[in-house]
């Protein structure tokens, strides 16, 4: 019976393990140094905020793994020997494999800032990061977060929940500017400020200063401004966590482990999935070659499970979707809404007078086929938008049938008539 070894017990690796077990009786081992059991990485923030305990963010009860004959090994891997077909653990032991799946996720970006390794300076990605944050933020009076992306806002919300004042430094002039259009970025930025976060747009950090105790005591911005703080969160993105593979030179790597559309590396019987994988060329040209999203990790896990159990399957993730929550504002997106309109595109943005609900539609000017939708504070049905995108529905059809996609709780104010009216008015103006 072939032995499939998976390095990494995040959503990608675990999804792969579960689907391999559904499809075969082969021996499966999952190795992770980070944690004994799979947990939801996206939920780490809730543990810090006291919404849940660590046990609550484990999606499966501990008996699940033995019951499904998925062997767990709590250890750090040091090296992959592709020729001898084994992985070497930090304690010197080796684990033989017939097929290997690398799913080691990401690590926080550090851009060589002076002082970036001082005590009290950290990113937030792993369970160890969370434990460090617990210690690093005890009794502090101000925190600075560098990077206005999803993790930056999460960190701000975490600290805010413990009444720690936060200054959020954002390099772009608007919040999450590379991803969100101006309107959404503005709305979310206002919401962040309303929650008491000091949001500093267009501000870059130059260096981090140590205090007398050797810990961080301030950050200095590019303009020379000094902001006193006892904690610095580095949240300027993540990169594939492949530093541990530096001695495994047989495997071709760039920023991540290079894979083809079947998630196979250059070495036979070694695949890579999730955040740590980098496509030579993404099968969906609209997407980046490295995808660092929960959902894509899950889909890659399911795809690779087919490949390693004998049904070689290309990764075809379908229509893009994503979601996030910024303090109290939920955000969902289906299809593509770029931060600015692409050539030949047209868009319509509607915002409720309460400033907490918004919908942004983008479509092709000529054919009027919908390209994508962003929604804030309004829940939309995934299945319906997926169907519309697949059928190349026009924006007019979508606006006319918006109720089909409504997913807000009962008794909520119906937004569809408001959206329809605003869409109609905009159309009249352009015509």
């Amino acid at each position: 019976m072939p032995h499939i070894v998976i390095i990494g017990n995040g959503i990608s690796g675990i999804t792969a393990a579960r689907h391999i077990r559904k499809r075969s009786d082969t021996r499966i081992t999952v190795i992770s140094g980070e944690s004994e059991h799979f947990f939801s990485r996206t939920a780490l923030m809730y543990v810090y905020m006291g919404h849940m305990r660590h046990i609550d963010i484990k999606p499966y009860e501990d008996h699940f793994w033995a019951k499904n004959r998925i062997e767990l090994k709590h250890a750090w891997v040091q090296q992959v020997d592709a020729e001898k077909k084994h992985v070497k653990l930090q304690d010197g032991k080796t684990v033989d494999y017939d097929k290997l799946i690398i799913a080691t996720g990401s690590a926080s970006n550090k851009f060589g800032w002076p002082g970036q390794d001082l005590p009290g300076v950290q990113g937030l990605y792993s369970l160890q990061d969370l434990e460090a944050m617990e210690l690093n933020t005890k009794g502090i009076t101000r925190a600075v977060i560098v990077g206005g992306g999803l993790i930056g806002v999460e960190m701000a919300e975490m600290l805010h929940s413990r009444n720690i004042p936060v200054t959020l430094l954002v390099r772009e002039t608007i919040f999450w500017g590379g991803v969100l259009p101006n309107e959404e970025a503005g709305l979310i930025g206002r919401h962040i400020i309303e929650n008491g976060i000091v949001l500093r747009m267009g501000t870059e950090m130059n260096e981090i200063l140590p205090g007398a105790n050797g810990r961080v005591c301030a950050v200095v911005t590019r303009t020379g401004e000094e902001i006193a703080c006892q904690f610095v969160g580095l949240t300027a993105g993540v990169h594939p966590n492949i530093a541990w593979l530096k001695d495994s030179t047989a495997i071709k790597m760039d920023k991540g482990v290079l894979v083809n559309e079947f998630l196979e590396t250059n070495m036979p019987d070694i695949c890579a999935i999730g955040d740590c994988a980098q496509f030579h060329e993404h099968p969906d040209l609209q997407r980046k070659n490295i995808e660092q999203v929960w959902y894509t990790g899950r889909m890659m896990g399911e795809t690779v499970a087919k490949t390693v159990t004998g049904e070689r399957t290309a990764y075809r993730p379908g229509h893009w979707f994503n979601s996030a929550k910024f303090f109290d504002l939920e955000y969902q997106t289906y299809g593509w809404v770029r931060h600015e309109l692409q050539p030949g595109e047209e868009g319509h943005y509607w915002e409720h007078t309460n400033g907490k609900v918004a919908l942004h539609l983008v479509w092709d000017q000529k054919s009027r086929v919908l390209h994508g939708v962003n929604s804030i504070g309004l829940r939309l049905r995934h299945e319906v938008f997926d169907r519309w995108l697949e059928a190349k529905a026009t924006v007019d059809h979508v606006v006319a049938h918006l109720e089909e996609a409504a997913f807000d709780p009962e008794f909520y104010e119906k937004m569809e008539p408001l959206i329809r009216m605003s869409f109609k008015q905009a159309k009249t103006v352009t015509a």
Partner: protein, 528 residues
């Protein structure tokens, strides 16, 4: 150049730690409780009305002040910050103290009311209960009893904590409407209306309190009392029977059992309001789920057997006194159970998840009950199940009515969560649950691939349903225990869950059990 940012933050409490105003507000509420407690040793209290008004006002004002300060000046949105950092909400010392006090109160209430001041026949109330005499006088024109005192405090709790709940969840209109509903039904139907009926010399009746939750509904004294009360009493009796067999099945078909359990019921009302801080304490393990199914259905069988035996024993063989005879009773029960069994056994496709053990158990139970009733009918025995019905009724009242629903049900809020009774014990919930599971449109739908398995839904499910295990597979949630409180959907950070009772796409009830796997990849990457 050095500069310190000044936060615009409105002081938020340190996770799990109370700020000065919150402490002040809780002190005020505690003083109110103390005001009630100090009355205990006194045999007569001067100005009881004044004393009661002051104490209750302090409790209510303290609670409202606490709620207002904690939630009103912050952006709307559910914040469970520090829930797992505070002893009160995580079975810490404070939780044990509250749990023991509550348990003690229930023990006194049920078994030693004289220590609360309950008067013996023909005497004056003393202590705590005497405080409530003026209010009782005002409402129904007689002295208070321990149950009047309990009802008043119960209603005050639901109203004050309901206000807190509404503020906390004010970004969610479903929660607001639902909470106003439980507050209304508690104040109007459970508290004021029965008192008013008593004032009008009509039988005391809580219209929404159905059998078998209201296990004394078919007691001889109650049925006789209603019949003897003339037209209106008869209406109450018929309404009670219609609630069980007609109204509740119809409402449950259209809306799920939530119409009762989290919108109308008094037990549910207290759990949803005063019990809200403890909802995360319910056990989510599959082991607990297994225990739940055994215990609650055992209680249901107990309730049915007890009631049938009781009614059988006071009915005669002829229609004298009641229109129903023993034979008719057995016939009705045989018919009702028989038709349910036929559906379950003959159309197994409808309930494909029911495994054979349960099916055979149900069949065995059915055969036993029908056999016993037929045997009793033929032999003309006075006790249908070979047991005396009155001791059975007494034991039910003691173990289920007092210990389970009261002492454990509420006393253990801070230790086992707010729905222990509703989940493990309530026979009404068991019946509505079966209807919800097999004959209802209600389900919680999941939103395609958006689940991130974070666990907020499962953690804050007061019924201990592992909501996440369904959501992450993209599978609809159709569980008999779900009371439809909607908190899972409210705390979901990605907009994944929605309570729905529209007819499902296929129009058939079974369609809602498993939704289609939602293809999120062109080559059929699914979610499962």
């Amino acid at each position: 150049m050095s500069k310190t940012d000044h936060s615009l933050s409105i002081a938020d409490q340190h996770s799990g730690v109370l700020d000065g105003v919150q402490k002040g507000a809780l002190t005020l509420a505690s003083l109110g409780v103390l005001g009630l407690i100090v009355s205990l040793p006194f045999s007569t209290i001067p100005q009881p009305a004044f004393w009661l008004a002051i104490s209750l006002s302090a409790i209510v004002a303290g609670t409202l002040w606490y709620a207002h300060h904690s939630y009103a000046n912050k952006p709307a949105g559910i914040k469970n910050n520090g829930v797992w950092h505070s002893g009160l909400t995580t079975r810490g010392i404070a939780a044990w103290v509250v749990g023991i006090l509550l348990t003690g109160l229930y023990i006194l209430l049920y078994f030693y009311p004289e220590y609360l001041g309950q008067a013996a026949e023909g005497e004056q109330n003393k202590g705590l209960i005497a405080l409530f005499d003026p209010l009782a006088q005002l409402l129904h024109g007689g002295p208070a009893s321990q149950w009047f005192m309990y009802g008043t405090l119960y209603t005050v709790s639901i109203l004050a904590m309901g206000y807190k709940f509404i503020l906390k969840y004010r970004n969610n209109k479903y929660q607001i409407v639902r909470t106003i509903s439980v507050m209304f039904f508690q104040l109007g139907f459970a508290f004021l209306l029965p008192e008013l009926l008593a004032r009008l010399s009509l039988p005391y009746n809580d219209f929404k309190n159905m059998w078998p939750l209201n296990y004394s509904f078919f007691d001889e004294w109650n049925v006789k009392g209603l019949i003897d009360a003339g037209g209106f009493g008869l209406f109450m009796l018929l309404f009670g029977v219609a609630m069980i067999f007609v109204i509740s099945p119809i409402l449950t078909y259209f809306y799920g059992k939530r119409w009762y359990c989290s919108w109308v019921c008094g037990c549910g009302g207290l759990a949803e309001t005063a019990g809200d801080p403890f909802r995360q304490l319910s056990d989510k393990s599959t082991k607990a789920w297994k225990m739940e199914r055994w215990i609650i259905h055992t209680v249901l069988v107990f309730a049915v057997v007890m009631t049938v035996a009781l009614v059988y024993s006071y009915l005669g063989d002829s229609a004298k006194g009641f229109w129903v005879t023993r034979g008719m009773l057995l016939g009705i029960i045989g018919l009702a159970l028989g038709s349910v069994a036929t559906v379950v056994l003959v159309r197994p496709g409808m309930v494909k998840e029911v495994n054979n053990t349960i099916r055979f158990l149900a069949l065995g139970l059915l055969v036993a009950i029908i056999g016993l009733t037929v045997h009793a009918y033929i032999t003309g025995r006075g006790d249908v199940f070979f047991v005396e019905s009155y001791p059975l009724r007494k034991w039910y009242g003691f173990f289920i009515g007092a210990i389970f629903s009261g002492v454990i049900g509420v006393g253990f809020y801070p230790l086992m969560g707010s729905r222990v009774w509703c989940r493990f014990g309530c026979p009404m919930a068991a019946i509505l649950g079966m209807q919800q599971r097999f004959f209802s449109r209600f389900r919680i739908t999941t939103n395609g691939g958006q689940c991130i398995s974070c666990g907020n839904c499962s953690t804050y499910c007061e019924m201990g349903i592992d909501v996440r295990s369904y959501a992450q597979r993209g599978e609809n949630i159709v569980r008999s225990s779900c009371v439809g409180c909607g908190i899972c959907a409210a705390v979901c950070p990605r907009g994944v869950l929605k309570l729905e009772s529209r007819s499902s796409a296929g129009g058939k009830v079974q369609d809602r059990v498993s939704s289609d796997p939602i293809a999120i990849g062109k080559t059929g990457a699914t979610l499962r």
